[in-house]
Each structure stands twice: as structure tokens, then as C-alpha cells.
């Protein structure tokens, strides 16, 4: 047995949720028993969540993986000297097909380094983008972001360069950069994984945004449901300040940018940018009427960039390697990579970063291995609770903004939730309305009242009451919600509802059906 040993084990919340800490504890115990000095590096996650807790060891510069590990597997790992013939050995991690098939730009450090190791961050390309931004003019930075074709990753897909240019040109004594890390969509965890695995990348992107538009203060609005991400980001901000990478003299350039983390408080609608701004001002998270757009009048009425975590995190690479390299990835008007998140009833779930354009089928069946239950896939919801439900017959749809829009769906934040054939789509439609009723901020009537009426009417449909007439009513109500709501909460709730009705009409029975009361929340 070697005298000193370096092992890598994820500290990502998902890995900890299935026992990574217990594995860590056992590794320490066994190392002590074997008289080995153990350097256990807690990294972010590789995104192969079905293999968590995933542990790695480096041999000749190559990381070899083992997982999913339980505390009871640790003893045999020591006995077999972490050899590749251990029953849970995965071989070289980056040679695995799940990793090989990806283009990891955003997540290249995720699962590799300790998220708070600033030297490791810099060694693996960190700060390169920021150094370019410091050396060049703000106009050149904005030009590069525009030329890259980067679009907002939060869901709406608005071109980031145009937003930045608008805020840069708005005259004001103070401007703000706000990062929307209120990742409330079910089926999404890309922001969380990045913040827990490589928080420096987001910070770097925010500083660049600040320099580009002339903002000296940034806020990260991070949801309270992510306690691990909050702790990691707080520690990262403190470490960056300590190094002089954030503050009054960034990297000795004389330029200034400060960053503050603010917690959300359990409200889904605060993921909507104007509600988030209200919340950042310490108010109820109610949406604002647009215009004015935040780039003109945002936080405290000042020009404000509101971008998603992954949008901001995409910027350092664009500056470091050039807009053309980024533009070369992807399809049509969907450029660069997207962090797809495979979730729900799927055998191999996790985060898969790839250029736009691969099909749902390739992702779910080839990489995801089909359903966890082994039953046939019946429905897939893409883009969170406000995204469309697609039937198995539409799995060949390419994952890109325009193709999804043309199919009456949306890519959103890249979350993909798989359901097997036991799903009751009428119940899913009812839930979409219930969720809207629960989370509506109450500012506009279509959303506040329409969602309650929608849930009631769909409950009648599920009980088999006057099905045709009630479905017609739901459709009419959905039109009102789409056309009359102030924001996407009410405006897009019809998407899951109507797609469920359109593609799974057989679940909305005209015969009274037996409702299983145990599944009604």
C-alpha cells in the first residue's frame, strides 16, 4: 500500500444526497488503519449522477473512477489497491461514453478540482477571459459577446450581446449585474451544479459583464432550496475578494466590481426577472409591467443586466478563445453548447453538455439508457413546469430553440423530465394549473384566478364530468392566460396543459374514470 494517497470525491449536493459523506468518512477511517496519509479532494460533480457517489484516483495523469460507492465498498477498494478490476471500477473517467460524447466548455472543471481551489481554477484556464476583458475596451467585449451568438440560457433565449449593449449605452451613475440563479424549474440543476462545482466561472463572467457595461455592483440571486450552493458561493466570493480578484482593484487593474449573494425565499415566480428584481429590493416578488426593460430601468430603477448563471458563465470562454470558436458550435440560431439535464424516470440521469442540435432520443435512449423503471417512455417534459409534454413519437426533435418553438414546445433551461407509461397526463395537466395557482404572484388576473379555475375545471374532467364542454372551457381559459398574463408564469402554463390535451387526448376520458385518491396532492 502506498504511503500517501490522493483521492477525488464529489461534494455536490446530489452526491451527498446519496451518501458521499459517509463514503468520505469511511475512506478516512480505512486510510488511517492502513497507515496511509489521505488527501481527499472534494470536487464538484462530473454530472454522471447515477454513478454518485463517484470517487476518482489519478494514475499517470489519468483519472480512474469507481462508483456508485457505498461505505461498505471502501474496504475492498483498499484491499485491491484501487485497481481497475474492482467490481465498481469504471476505468478512465474521461474515456467513458457519457463523457466522450460531450463538449464540455462550461463544466470542464466541474468534478475535476476543488471548487474553492483558486490555483487549480487558474491552472485550468480560469481568469483568461477576464484578463482579455481588462486589456480590451468594453465595446470590444460586447462586440465579442454579440458575435458569438450567445443567447440567454434562462429560458427565453434573448441575445445576450443586445442586452449588454443596451445597458452599456444607458446613461446612469450606477448600473447593476444581476445573476438569476433562482433555478426553480423541475428537471433542472445545471446552475446548482456549476455553482457547487466551479463557482469561479460564474464570478468571472459577472466581473466581465460589469466591466463591459460599466457596473460596479453585482448580485447573485440564489434560491434558498440550494443550501450547499449558497455555502459554496459565499466561500468563493470571500476567496476571490481575499485574492484581489474581486473588489476595488481587480487583478491590479484599478477596476472595481463588488459581488453580493442574496437568497431567494421559496417563491418560484422570483425566477422571472422583474419579480427577481423586486425581491432583490426586499419586496414581495411581484412581476413588473414591461416596458421599461431592466437594461434601461432595472434594480433600484438603474440599468441592469439580468442574465442566467449559464449565460454569464459562457462569457469567459468566448473572450478567451474568440467569438468565432463559440459560434462554430451548434445549429442555425442556437449557438454554443447547452447544458442538458436528464431527469425524472431515467436510468442514467445527469448533466450532459453538448452543442445544440442532438435529438431528444439520442439523449434519453442512447445516453440516458431509457427509463429507470424499464417501462416504455410515454411522455417527456422539456423546459420545466411551463414546458410542453411531448409524446414518445416526437423524440426525434432536435434540441434547439427554433425547432422546439416550431413544435409548440420550448427548450427553456434545458431540463428534460422523462415519464414512463404509468403517467396520467390528465393529472399532469391538472398539476400544471395547481402549480400556477400555488406560485402565481397575484399581480394579474388571468394568472391569479385563471389558474384556480383551470385546476377546478381539469379536476372535473378527471372525474369525467361533462368532459367535452369542460375541455373546451380549459382551452378558452388557456387562450386568456396566454394572451392576458403579464409574465411567463401565467403566459406559459397553457403550454404543459394544452400539449397534454393535444398529444395525450386518450387520458382525458369522456367516461367517468376511477380516480386514485392517494395520488392527489
Amino acid at each position: 500500500m502506498t504511503e500517501s494517497l490522493t483521492l477525488f470525491l464529489s461534494r455536490d449536493a446530489a452526491a451527498r444526497s446519496v451518501g458521499a459523506d459517509a463514503v468520505a468518512q469511511r475512506l478516512q477511517q480505512l486510510a488511517q488503519q492502513h497507515g496511509t496519509t489521505l488527501d481527499l479532494v472534494r470536487t464538484g460533480s462530473r454530472g454522471m449522477l447515477w454513478l454518485e457517489p463517484l470517487m476518482e484516483i489519478e494514475r499517470d495523469g489519468v483519472r480512474h473512477g469507481f462508483g456508485p460507492l457505498g461505505p461498505d465498498d471502501v474496504e475492498t477498494l483498499f484491499e485491491q489497491d484501487f485497481a481497475d478490476d474492482h467490481p465498481l471500477a469504471l476505468g478512465p473517467v474521461e474515456a467513458m461514453s457519457w463523457m466522450q460524447a460531450q463538449t464540455r466548455l462550461l463544466y470542464r472543471r466541474c468534478g475535476v478540482i476543488d471548487p474553492l481551489d483558486l490555483d487549480g481554477f487558474e491552472r485550468m484556464g480560469g481568469l483568461a477571459g477576464l484578463r482579455v476583458a481588462i486589456a480590451q475596451s468594453a465595446t470590444d467585449t460586447i462586440e465579442a459577446v454579440t458575435a458569438s451568438g450567445l443567447r440567454g440560457r434562462g429560458g427565453a433565449g434573448f441575445p445576450a450581446g443586445i442586452k449588454w449593449k443596451t445597458a452599456a449605452e444607458a446613461p446612469a451613475d450606477q448600473k447593476y449585474i444581476c445573476c438569476n440563479a433562482d433555478e426553480g424549474d423541475s428537471g433542472t440543476f445545471a446552475d446548482r451544479m456549476l455553482i457547487e462545482g466551479d463557482p469561479g466561472l460564474l464570478i468571472e463572467g459577472m466581473v466581465i459583464a460589469g466591466l463591459a457595461v460599466g457596473a460596479t455592483q453585482g448580485f447573485i440571486y440564489l434560491r434558498s432550496e440550494y443550501p450547499d450552493a449558497i455555502a459554496t458561493m459565499r466561500a468563493a466570493i470571500a476567496a476571490w475578494e481575499e485574492r484581489g480578484w474581486l473588489g476595488d482593484d481587480i487583478l491590479g487593474s484599478g477596476k472595481r466590481f463588488h459581488l453580493t449573494l442574496r437568497r431567494g425565499a421559496g417563491s418560484y415566480v422570483c425566477g422571472e426577472e422583474s419579480a427577481m428584481l423586486e425581491s432583490l429590493e426586499g419586496k414581495r416578488g411581484q412581476v413588473r409591467v414591461k416596458p421599461p426593460i431592466p437594461a434601461i430601468s432595472g434594480l433600484f430603477g438603474k440599468p441592469t443586466i439580468v442574465n442566467n448563471v449559464l449565460t454569464l458563465a459562457s462569457v469567459p470562454d468566448i473572450l478567451a478563445h474568440g467569438a468565432a470558436a463559440y459560434q462554430a458550435l451548434g445549429n442555425e440560431r442556437s449557438r454554443g453548447t447547452q447544458a442538458f439535464q436528464l431527469a425524472g424516470n431515467v436510468k442514467r440521469g445527469g448533466l450532459f453538455e453538448a452543442p445544440f442540435g442532438l435529438s431528444l432520443r439520442e439523449l434519453i435512449e442512447t445516453h440516458g439508457g431509457g427509463t429507470l423503471t424499464g417501462r416504455p417512455i410515454r411522455a417527456v417534459q422539456v423546459g420545466g413546469p411551463l414546458g410542453a409534454y411531448l409524446p414518445a413519437s416526437m423524440l426525434d426533435l432536435p434540441l434547439e430553440y427554433e425547432a422546439f418553438a416550431a413544435a409548440g414546445a420550448m427548450l427553456g433551461h434545458g431540463g428534460i423530465v422523462v415519464f414512463d407509461d404509468t403517467v396520467d397526463m390528465a393529472r399532469q395537466a391538472e398539476f400544471a394549473m395547481e402549480f400556477c395557482a400555488e406560485e402565481s404572484c397575484g399581480k394579474c388576473t388571468p394568472c391569479r384566478i385563471g389558474s384556480v379555475r383551470g385546476a377546478e375545471t381539469l379536476a372535473k374532467v378527471r372525474r369525467g364530468e361533462d368532459v367535452e364542454a369542460n375541455l373546451a372551457l380549459v382551452e378558452e381559459l388557456c387562450t386568456v392566460l396566454t394572451d392576458g398574463s403579464l409574465c411567463a408564469m401565467g403566459g406559459l402554463t397553457p403550454m404543459p396543459v394544452m400539449s397534454a390535451i393535444r398529444h395525450f387526448r386518450e387520458d382525458f376520458k369522456s367516461e367517468p374514470l376511477q380516480v386514485d385518491e392517494t395520488v392527489v396532492g
Binding site: A13, E183, S186, A265, E438
Partner: protein, 146 residues
């Protein structure tokens, strides 16, 4: 229900830590909720005075956000994700099982553990692939590290 002098001072200190800034109200409410398991009317009154805003404004914010309560909440309560990705792997059935066993739980919508559902949060500890047994084990162990 009056607060003791110490509690009053703690709340004042929380407000001072955020520079008595009204825009930090949600942060302040989080800290008070954590320290006292709720944001009582008395606490709201002290915060209002300290930030120089009305009690109505605090009441409005406190009632809007699910994280705040007027009456004490158990810090180690089980919050079970009831959103779509967890529904797809039986979250509703798990909730029904907990109900039958008389285990109290609350609904939360997405904990970002969507590939390892059903997910639950016990205090600040995330539990993946949740079952009644795994939740019971996590509850039993959660006092130690929080």
C-alpha cells in the same frame, strides 16, 4: 407573546449586520427565521423600527414567501419535492406512504436533485432516492451535523 431582551437585541444585531438596509429585508427575515424558527409579529415590529419601514411592508413580504412563518417551524422538518421530475419517480406515492405512517412532511417544488428523485430536504440536508426508511435514517442522523 413578548420577546426577551436578548432576543430583541439579536434581531437588532441582524438588522445592523445588513446596514439597516431595507433592500436586505429578505436576508434579515431568513436570519431571524433561522434563529427563532419563525418571524413573529413582535420580531416584525422590531425589524420595522430598525429598517424604518412600515410593519405592513414586512407583513406583506413575510406572507409572500414560503420560507417565512409567523409560528415556529421544526428546523428538521421533512420537505418533500412534489414537482414533475420527482412525480415521475413516485413522489406522490411516497407522500401518501408518509401520510399513512403519520410522518409529517411539507411540499417543496424542486430541490435540484431531479436525476436522483424522489428528493427531500431535512433541515439543510438533501436526501436523494428517498424512501420512508431513508428519510427516517436521515432524520435520525441530521441532528449531528447541522
Amino acid at each position: 407573546m413578548g420577546l426577551s431582551k436578548t432576543n430583541r437585541e439579536t434581531i437588532e444585531q441582524v438588522c445592523a449586520r445588513y446596514g439597516h438596509r431595507a433592500d436586505a429585508l429578505i436576508e434579515i427575515l431568513h436570519d431571524v427565521q433561522r434563529a427563532h424558527a419563525c418571524v413573529s409579529d413582535e420580531a416584525a415590529r422590531i425589524i420595522a423600527g430598525s429598517l424604518n419601514i412600515s410593519r405592513a411592508e414586512i407583513q406583506g413580504v413575510r406572507s409572500f414567501y414560503a420560507d417565512f412563518s409567523t409560528t415556529p417551524r421544526a428546523p428538521q422538518r421533512i420537505r418533500l419535492c412534489r414537482a414533475e421530475a420527482c412525480q415521475a419517480v413516485g413522489a406522490d406515492q411516497l407522500a401518501a406512504e408518509l401520510d399513512r405512517a403519520g410522518t409529517p412532511h411539507e411540499a417543496v417544488y424542486c430541490l435540484g436533485n431531479c436525476a436522483l428523485g424522489p428528493a427531500a430536504l431535512i433541515g439543510e440536508r438533501l436526501v436523494g432516492r428517498a424512501t420512508p426508511d431513508r428519510l427516517a435514517a436521515a432524520s435520525a442522523g441530521s441532528g449531528q451535523d447541522d
